[in-house]
Amino acid sequence: MKNECGLRCVRLDNVGVIKGSKQLIQDVSLELRCGKITAIIGANGAGKTTLLRAVLGDIKYTGEIDFTDHNSNTVSGIKIGYVPQKLNFDLSSPITVIDLFCSLKSKSPVFIFKKKQNVQVIKEKLAANGCSGLENRRLGELSGGELQRVMLALALNPIPDLLILDEPVSGVDAKGLGTFYKTVSELRKRYHMAIVLVSHDLPLVAKYADSVVLMGGKPLAIGTPAEVYNTEAFRQTFGSSFGGELL
C-alpha cells in the first residue's frame, strides 16, 4: 500500500549522543509517522537540534534508528528533506539561490555551467513555494522569511519521505510564521510525508502538531499537544503560565 497515512517512517530506539565526555541526549525512543507532524520542544540546550542531527546521520549516536519505506520494509535510508536552523557560511559569499539548487540537483560542477533545463525546473519550484524572482539573489541577501521559503523549496526537491525542520521560527515575523506552519501542514496532507520540527512557538505547535516531544536531555513527555502541555515537566520547563490556555 503506497503512501498510506500513519505508517511508521522512522523509529528511534534508545538513541543517545555523547560528545566528548558530555551526554547530550539519552534514552530517546520514539516513532515518526507518515502524514503526521511531530514537534520537538524544550528549553535551550535540551538536545533538540542534536536529536535532529542524529536522525540526519550527521552525528554519531548510540542505539538504533530504523527507516521504513511505504511497503513497511526496513531500508537503510529514505529521502530526507532538511531545513537548517541557519546557514553557517560567511554570508558575504556570492553564492546565489540557483547555485545552491543546481549544486544539489546536478552533477555538473556549478562553477562551470548550469543546464538550462535544470534552471527552468528550479525557477518553477521556487515560484511554487512563493520564492519567484529570488533565483539570482545571493543567499546572504535574503531576509529570514525568504531564506526559510527557499530552504523549504530546496528540501521539497525531490519530495522527501521525511521532512526535518530545525527551528523554522528564527528571524521570521509572526505573520510569516503562521503562513509557514500552514504550508507545512498542507504538505503533510498532500504528500503524506512524516514531518518533524523543532519549535519555540508553543501556540502554533498546539495548533498544528499531531504529537509533541518535550526534550530535556531525554524525552520528558511524549504525546498529543494536550497531553504534553498538561504534564508537570512541561510546566517546569516553560513556567506554569503556559499550558491549558494554549490548547
Binding site: 566528548g20 542531527r53 532538511y82 553557517n88 557560511f89 556570492p94 553564492i95 546565489t96 562553477f111 562551470i112
Partner: protein, 279 residues
C-alpha cells in the same frame, strides 16, 4: 613542455630569456590557477586560519626532509602537510569553542620545531630562504609535479565541487543528502596541503596563505554568482602571479612578496568598488 619554453623565449621580454625565469614563469602560472580555484572554497569554509597554520607547519616538514636525507624533500613536505591537515581537521570538527587556539598551538609548535631543526642543520641565510621564498629555485622536476597536481586538482574540482559547496553552506544539509561530510572535508584539506606544500619553496612560509586567500577574497567582493566568483578568483590569482614575477624581476625584489602586494591591491580596489556600488 619544450614548446612552452620555446614560446616563452620568443617573447620580446628579457626576463623570459633565461631558463630559470622560464621555469619560474610556468611555476607561477600553474600554482596561481590552483590557488585561485581552491581559494574560493577555503574562504567560504572560513579556513584562512587553517591554511595559515598549514603554511607554518611546512617549516617542520622541510627540516624533517633534510634530516632524514629524503632524496626529494618535497615528499617529506607533502606527507607532513597532509598529516597536519588531517590533524587540524579533526580538531576543527570536534567543534570545541577554542578551535582557533588549538590550531594556533599546532602551528606555532610546528614553526618553532622547524626553525630549531633548520637552524641546527643549516646556516641562517639558507633557512631564511624558506621564510621569504626563492623563485629561482624552481626545478624542472617540480614543474612536472605542478602540472600533475593541476590535473588532479581540476579533476577533483569537477567531480566534487558541488559537494564541497554544499558542505560549505551547511554540513547538516549536506549530510541529509547522503554526502559523507568528513570524507570530503578531509579530501579538501589534503588538496590545500598539497598545493601549499608544492609552492612553499618559492613563495615562502610567511606569505603562502595570502596566495590562497587574497584572490578569492577579492573575487567575492565583485562576483555575482559561483561561476564569476571562481573565474575572477583564478584571473586575479594568475594576473597577480605573472605581474608580480615581472615586477620583481625588474625591481630585484622577492617575487612572493610582490605577488601578494598586487593581490592586495586588487582586493582593496574591488573592496572599494563594492562599497561604492552597494551604497
Amino acid at each position: 613542455m619544450s614548446a612552452v619554453y620555446d614560446w616563452l623565449s620568443m617573447l620580446p621580454f628579457d626576463f623570459t630569456q633565461t631558463a630559470f625565469m622560464q621555469r619560474a614563469f610556468i611555476a607561477v602560472v600553474l600554482s596561481s590557477i590552483m590557488f585561485g580555484m581552491i581559494g574560493t572554497l577555503a574562504v567560504d569554509n572560513n579556513m584562512a586560519f587553517f591554511s595559515d597554520a598549514l603554511g607554518h607547519s611546512a617549516a617542520t616538514g622541510i627540516a624533517i626532509g633534510i634530516i632524514l636525507g629524503v632524496k626529494n624533500e618535497l615528499i617529506a613536505l607533502i606527507a607532513f602537510g597532509i598529516l597536519m591537515a588531517l590533524l587540524i581537521n579533526r580538531v576543527r570538527s570536534g567543534g570545541a569553542a577554542s578551535t582557533d587556539t588549538i590550531i594556533s598551538v599546532f602551528s606555532s609548535t610546528a614553526l618553532a620545531v622547524g626553525l630549531l631543526l633548520l637552524s641546527k642543520t643549516r646556516s641562517s641565510a639558507q633557512y631564511s630562504a624558506y621564510l621569504i621564498g626563492d623563485i629561482l629555485s624552481v626545478s624542472e622536476s617540480e614543474i612536472v609535479l605542478l602540472v600533475f597536481a593541476l590535473i588532479v586538482v581540476v579533476a577533483i574540482w569537477c567531480i566534487c565541487y558541488n559537494k564541497f559547496l554544499l558542505i560549505a553552506i551547511n554540513k547538516s544539509l549536506a549530510a541529509s543528502r547522503g554526502i559523507k561530510v568528513v570524507l570530503f572535508e578531509n579530501v579538501f584539506s589534503c588538496l590545500i596541503a598539497v598545493v601549499v606544500m608544492l609552492s612553499i619553496k618559492w613563495v615562502g612560509i610567511l606569505l603562502i596563505n595570502s596566495m590562497l586567500i587574497l584572490p578569492a577574497a577579492a573575487a567575492r567582493n565583485v562576483a555575482r554568482g559561483v561561476r564569476s566568483y571562481n573565474l575572477l578568483s583564478i584571473i586575479f590569482a594568475t594576473f597577480s602571479g605573472i605581474a608580480g614575477l615581472i615586477f620583481s624581476w625588474y625591481l630585484g625584489t622577492a617575487a612572493g612578496a610582490m605577488i601578494v602586494m598586487i593581490s592586495a591591491a586588487i582586493f582593496f580596489s574591488t573592496f572599494t568598488i563594492r562599497a561604492v556600488t552597494h551604497k
